[in-house]
C-alpha cells in the first residue's frame, strides 16, 4: 500500500528537523509505541503494540533513518516482527520545505504486511496504514507546534491555529511538556 500526503507545520524547518531526530518525539508520535531506544545514527529498537482488525500484536523491530539531508529530507524505515501475527514493514520518505507560515512536511509512505496480518487483515490494511500514518504525522505536527493555551482541553482547540497560541513558558522544555500532555491526554 502506498500513500502520499503532507502537513503544514507552524515551525521552522530547523525546528521540524530537530524534532524528527529526537527519539522522544518519535516515541510519542508512533501510535502504540511502548519503548524506543537508540539514536538517529545507529537506529532505534522499538516495541509497538497495534491491533489490526482481529489481530492484536506486540511488534518488536528496528527503525532506521537514512538518506539524511539536514533540514531537507530523510527516509524513515521500520520493520517489526509480531510473532505469530506476522510482520509489518514500511518506510516514509519525508521532505521539508519552508513555507511562509512555517514548514511543509511531505511524505510518501509505503507499507507491507506479512503472515497472519496479511491473511486475516488484508481488507482493512490499507485503511489501517493510512490511519496510522495520519496519526503519526498529526501527532508530530502537534508536538512540534507546541502547546496551546494552558487552559485548553482537547476538542476546544478546533478551529484555532495551535501555532498562533503563544507559549506561556517558552523554550524547548515547555514545548516538550506540552506535547507530552497532548499525546497522553493530560
Amino acid at each position: 500500500m502506498q500513500l502520499t500526503d503532507h502537513r503544514d507545520i507552524a515551525a521552522s524547518p530547523e525546528t521540524v528537523w530537530a524534532s524528527i531526530l529526537d527519539p522522544e518525539v518519535l516515541k510519542a508520535c508512533i501510535p502504540g509505541c511502548e519503548s524506543l531506544t537508540g539514536s538517529p545514527e545507529a537506529g532505534y529498537e522499538a516495541i509497538v503494540v497495534q491491533k489490526v482488525g482481529p489481530v492484536k500484536a506486540k511488534f518488536t523491530g528496528v527503525v532506521t533513518l537514512s538518506d539524511m539531508v539536514a533540514g531537507q529530507s530523510l527516509t524513515i524505515t521500520g520493520e517489526g516482527k509480531g510473532g505469530p501475527a506476522g510482520f509489518a514493514k514500511g518506510g516514509a520518505k519525508v521532505a521539508l520545505a519552508p513555507e511562509a507560515e512555517g514548514t511543509r512536511l511531505s511524505y510518501d509512505v509505503e507499507a507491507h504486511v506479512g503472515g497472519k496480518l496479511a491473511q486475516l487483515g488484508s481488507r482493512i490494511i490499507d485503511g489501517f496504514a493510512k490511519k496510522l500514518a495520519d496519526e503519526f504525522f498529526e501527532r508530530f505536527k502537534t508536538t512540534v507546534e507546541g502547546p496551546a493555551a494552558p487552559d485548553e482541553v482537547p476538542g476546544e482547540a478546533s478551529g484555532e491555529e495551535p501555532g498562533d497560541a503563544p507559549s506561556p513558558e517558552g523554550g524547548e522544555a515547555a514545548q516538550k511538556k506540552g506535547w507530552i500532555k497532548r499525546v497522553f491526554g493530560g
Partner: protein, 792 residues
C-alpha cells in the same frame, strides 16, 4: 415402482448414521496413551534464505520434547511428482526436490521449515513461536506473477531452475503445423484470453496426522487424512523415508472431504512418523484452518489464450491454446498430470473438431503448490472451450444451442478418436442437450426474462456442453503418458463362515458413500440383504493394494473390482454347490441367493454354501481349497467419458453488479446409476463448487507473495443462499462399454460443467441488457467486476 434395495435404489446412506449424529471417528478424534503434540513453524515470507535457526531457546521451553528443522530431514528422499512430463523438445521436466521440511530456502508463505513436539499443544505452540523468533530468514524478492517468473531468470524459486519453468508441453506436437495452417485460412477466428482462478479446497475437516512407532517390532503406523492410504504408504515408505512398505501401516479413518487435496503426501506426515520414532511416543498434528489455507494444495490457476477457427456458420475447424499453469513452489504428487493429460486431452470437448493443439507451460512461483482439485484440468479445459464457443456465437450472431448441436459428436460416430489422444467409447451428447433444454425450460425463457426486466433485472441464460475423462485410469495408457504408478484398483470379498460379508476396498470413502453403494452392488449380485454386507476401507493392513479415490474412479474402477471378486465367489460357490448337490458344475446356476441345479428343485442357499466352505465336512477338498474369499484387481481398458449439458439462468442487478442464480438444470449421462440419491448429491455438490468458483472464490496473493485470502473473511465460500434448487436429470444413459457395471462416474461432473454455464449466463444477461461491449469477465464474476464491466 422404484427399487427399495440393490442396484438402482435410492437407499439412505448408512454412513450418515454416524456422520449426522456426531459419531464419526476422524483422525483428530483418535486419542492415544502418551501422545505428544507437534506444531509446524511456517514461513511468513514467500521467498527467503534460511540464514540460521537457533533452536536452543525453543528446546528449553516447558514441555518441549523435540525440535526438528530441515537439517534433520535433509538426507531423506523428496516427495515425488507422480507423472513425468516431457517438454516439446523432448527434455524431461525439471523436478526440484521437495523436502520434508524446507531446507536452505523457504519458498512460499506457509512453507514449514521447523517443527516442535511437546507434551501439550499449547506448549508446542509457544515453543514454535519462540523458534520463529529465533530463525533468521533473509527475505528475497517473491516470484508471484507467472509471466514475470518466466521472463526473469535472475530471480528463481529453485536456484537450479533458471527460468522457473517446469516444462513446456505440446499436445499433440504433430498436430501443430496443421492446426496453424487451418487458422491461416479460417473464415473466422475467435480469440479469448482468460484466467481460471486459483481455488483453495477447504475440506471441512482440516488435514491431521498421528505418527506411532513400535520399538518392539520396528513397525510404524500413520493415521492420517488420506483419500488413498496405500498411495500414501507407497510415497512415504519407498520415496521419502525409506521404510520397508510392510513396516508401515497407514490408516485413514473417517475423512471429512478431500476434493483432491488429501490425495497427496505432505511433509507433516513424515514429521510425525520420524518424531514418533525419536520419542517412542505417539505424535499428533492437526492443521489449524489458517494452515489449511497455507499448505493444502490449491487448485486451477491457469492463464490461457484460446483461439477457435470456425466457418461463418459456426462449424469449429480448429482449436489452439496457450496456457500458463501455476504449479506453485514445489511439485505436488499429481501437479504435472493435472494441467497436461487431464486438461490437454479434453480440449476437443464433445465436439467433432478435427484439429486441436494445446500448449501448456507450467511455472514455479512462490505460492502454495497447486494440484488436482475436483475436476482437475477438465474444468479448465471445459471453461476455455465453452466460453470461447459462446463468444464465437456472439461474434457470428449464431444461436449457441444450435452451434453446439451442429458440432457435437453424434451417436453413430462412436467409438470416436479425438485429435488429442482419447477414444470416446459411447455417448449421446445431443440427447443430453435436448434434455437440458427441456428441464431448463428454454422455451419459457423469454417470459421469465420479461418478468425480470419488469423488476429492473437483467436475465440471462448460459449453456455448457461438457465431457470429461474419468474412471482414472488405464495403466497401459497412463504409463505411456508418463505416470509413474498404475491406476488399477482392488477389492477383496470375504464371505464369513456365518454367511455375512466383509468387502475390503482400495477405494476410500470420504463423502462418496461407498459403504452404502458398494453394499448395494454386493447385495444385488449375491442376493443377500445389504445389512449383511460390510465395506471396509482406509487401512492398509486390512485392504488390498488399491489406489484410492479421486478422478471419479471409485465406482468405475474399484466398484468393478468388487464385482470381479464377486464373480470369483460365485464361480467357487458353484463348484461347492455342484459337489453338495451331486451335479455337474456347468448345470449349477446362481440367482436370488440360491445355487440350483438346472431343471430341478435341488438348491443350496448362499449361506449353506458359505458354511460348507468353512466347515468342509462334505466338500471336494482334493480339488478345492476351503474358505470363501476372493480378491480382484481391475485395470480399466479405457477412461470413462461422462458428458452432459448444463443450463444456468441468472439475474444481474445492473445497479450493483450482483448476480443471482435463478435456476440450474443438469442433464448428465453417467451411464448406469447405482444409487440415484447419491448421484443427486454428487451433482449438487459439484455444481455448488462450480458456482463457488464462478461467482465467489478467489485466491489472492499480493506482489510480495503474501496470501491475502487466508481466512473465510476474505475467501468467499458458497453458502446455501448462493445456490439455487438444482434440476438434475441422468435419464440419458449410454452405459460405459468397457466395464461390466456400465458406469462412468459422477463425482467431478458438476464442478467441470458448471462454471462456464454461469459465466455464459452473466454475459448473456449483459448483452440482452444492451451492454454489448462486454465480451468476457474473469471468474469470480463478483459484483464489482460485473459493475465495472457494465460501466467500463
Amino acid at each position: 415402482m422404484p427399487k427399495d434395495h440393490g442396484i438402482g435404489a435410492s437407499m439412505k446412506r448408512r454412513e450418515d448414521i454416524r456422520f449426522l449424529t456426531g459419531r464419526g471417528q476422524y483422525t483428530d478424534d483418535v486419542s492415544l496413551h502418551g501422545q505428544t503434540h507437534a506444531v509446524m513453524v511456517r514461513s511468513t515470507v514467500a521467498h527467503g534464505r534460511i540464514r540460521s535457526i537457533d533452536t536452543s531457546a525453543a528446546a528449553a521451553m516447558p514441555g518441549v520434547l523435540a525440535v526438528f528443522t530441515g537439517e534433520d530431514f535433509k538426507d531423506m528422499g523428496g516427495n515425488p511428482a507422480g507423472w513425468l512430463i516431457n517438454s516439446r523438445d523432448g527434455t524431461p521436466m525439471r523436478e526440484p526436490k521437495r523436502p520434508v521440511l524446507a531446507h536452505g530456502k523457504v519458498r512460499h508463505v506457509g512453507d514449514a521449515y521447523a517443527a516442535v513436539v511437546a507434551e501439550t499443544y499449547q506448549q508446542a505452540r509457544d515453543a514454535a513461536e519462540q523458534l520463529a523468533a529465533d530463525a533468521e530468514i533473509e527475505e528475497l524478492p517473491a516470484i508471484v506473477d507467472m509471466v514475470a517468473a518466466v521472463a526473469d531468470s535472475s530471480n528463481r524459486v529453485h536456484d537450479e531452475i533458471p527460468d522457473n519453468l517446469c516444462f513446456d508441453w505440446g499436445w499433440i506436437e504433430d498436430n501443430r503445423a496443421k492446426v496453424d495452417a487451418v487458422f491461416k485460412s479460417a473464415p473466422h477466428v475467435t480469440t479469448l484470453e482468460l484466467v481460471n482462478n486459483r481455488l483453495i479446497p477447504n475440506a471441512m475437516e482440516p488435514r491431521a496426522s498421528i505418527g506411532e512407532y513400535f520399538p518392539g517390532t520396528g513397525d510404524y503406523k500413520l493415521t492420517t487424512t488420506s483419500q488413498n492410504p496405500h498411495l500414501h504408504r507407497l510415497l512415504i515408505a519407498a520415496f521419502v523415508m525409506g521404510i520397508p512398505e510392510n513396516k508401515l501401516t497407514v490408516v485413514a479413518p473417517d475423512v471429512g472431504g478431500g476434493f483432491g487435496s488429501k490425495i497427496y503426501h505432505y511433509g507433516e506426515e513424515a514429521v510425525v512418523l520420524a518424531a514418533a520414532k525419536k520419542l517412542g511416543r505417539p505424535v499428533r498434528w492437526t492443521a489449524e484452518r489458517s494452515e489449511s489455507f497455507l499448505s493444502d494444495a490449491h487448485g486451477r490457476d491457469h492463464v490461457t489464450k484460446i483461439e477457435m477457427a470456425a466457418t461463418k456458420e459456426g462449424e469449429i475447424l480448429a482449436i489452439r491454446t496457450e496456457t500458463l499453469a501455476n504449479v506453485g513452489a514445489y511439485l505436488s504428487n499429481f501437479s504435472t498430470a493435472t494441467p497436461t493429460f487431464l486438461h490437454g486431452t479434453l480440449m476437443a470437448g464433445p465436439y467433432k473438431v478435427p484439429n486441436v493443439y494445446v500448449n501448456v507451460k507450467t511455472v514455479f512461483t512462490n505460492t502454495v503448490p497447486v494440484d488436482a482439485y475436483r475436476g482437475a484440468g477438465r474444468p479448465e479445459a471445459t471453461y476455455s472451450l465453452e466460453r470461447t464457443i459462446d463468444k464465437m456465437c456472439r461474434e457470428l450472431h449464431l444461436d449457441p444451442f444450435e452451434v453446439r448441436r451442429k458440432n457435437l459428436i453424434t451417436p453413430e460416430m462412436f467409438p470416436y478418436t479425438t485429435p488429442v489422444g482419447l477414444a470416446y467409447d459411447t455417448g449421446n451428447y445431443g440427447a443430453t442437450l435436448d434434455k437440458a433444454m427441456e428441464i431448463g425450460d428454454v422455451a419459457g425463457f423469454e417470459k421469465r426474462r420479461a418478468a425480470s426486466a419488469a423488476k429492473g433485472k437483467l436475465r440471462g441464460m448460459g449453456l455448457s456442453t461438457w465431457i470429461e475423462a474419468c474412471g482414472i485410469a488405464p495403466s497401459h495408457l497412463v504409463g505411456v503418458l508418463g505416470s509413474r504408478v498404475g491406476l488399477y484398483d482392488a477389492a477383496t470379498v470375504r464371505v464369513n463362515a456365518t454367511g455375512n460379508i466383509s468387502v475390503m476396498t482400495g477405494a476410500h470413502s470420504h463423502g462418496q458413500s461407498h459403504e452404502t453403494v458398494f453394499a448395494q452392488i454386493v447385495a444385488e449380485k449375491l442376493g443377500v440383504p445389504e445389512s449383511s454386507v460390510e465395506i471396509v476401507h482406509g487401512d492398509t493392513s486390512k485392504i488390498p493394494f488399491g489406489m484410492g479415490s479421486y478422478g471419479s474412479r471409485s465406482l468405475a474402477v474399484c466398484g468393478v473390482a468388487v464385482t470381479k471378486a464377486i464373480d470369483k465367489i460365485v464361480a467357487k460357490g458353484k463348484k461347492i454347490a455342484a459337489h453338495m448337490l451331486e451335479a455337474a458344475e456347468e448345470d449349477i446356476s446362481f440367482a436370488d441367493g440360491k445355487f440350483s441345479v438346472a431343471g430341478t428343485d435341488k438348491a443350496k442357499t448362499f449361506g449353506e454354501i458359505a458354511f460348507s466352505a468353512y466347515v468342509p465336512h462334505n466338500y471336494p477338498l482334493e480339488t478345492l481349497e476351503p474358505g470363501l474369499e476372493e480378491t480382484a484387481f481391475y485395470d480399466p481398458a479405457n477412461f470413462t467419458y461422462p458428458a452432459g449439458a448444463y443450463i444456468c439462468e441468472v439475474e444481474v442487478d445492473p445497479e450493483t453488479g450482483k448476480v443471482d442464480i435463478c435456476s440450474f438444470a443438469c442433464a448428465d449421462d453417467f451411464g448406469n446409476i447405482m444409487n440415484p440419491m447419491v448421484v443427486d448429491g454428487q451433482v449438487h455438490g459439484g455444481v455448488g463448487q462450480g458456482i463457488g468458483q464462478a461467482l465467489l472464490e478467489n485466491t489472492a496473493y499480493d506482489e510480495n507473495g503474501q496470501l491475502l485470502t487466508g481466512s473465510y473473511m476474505d475467501y468467499a465460500m458458497p453458502r446455501a443462499s448462493d445456490v439455487p434448487f438444482y434440476t438434475v436429470d441422468y435419464s440419458c444413459q449410454t452405459p460405459c462399454t468397457h466395464n461390466p457395471l456400465g458406469v462412468k462416474g459422477c463425482g467431478e461432473a458438476g464442478a467441470i460443467g458448471s462454471p462456464p454455464a454461469v459465466v455464459n449466463a452473466v454475459i448473456d444477461a449483459l448483452h440482452r441488457g444492451g451492454h454489448t461491449h462486454v465480451t468476457h469477465i474473469d471468474m469470480p464474476v463478483s459484483p464489482s467486476r460485473v459493475w465495472s464491466a457494465i460501466n467500463g
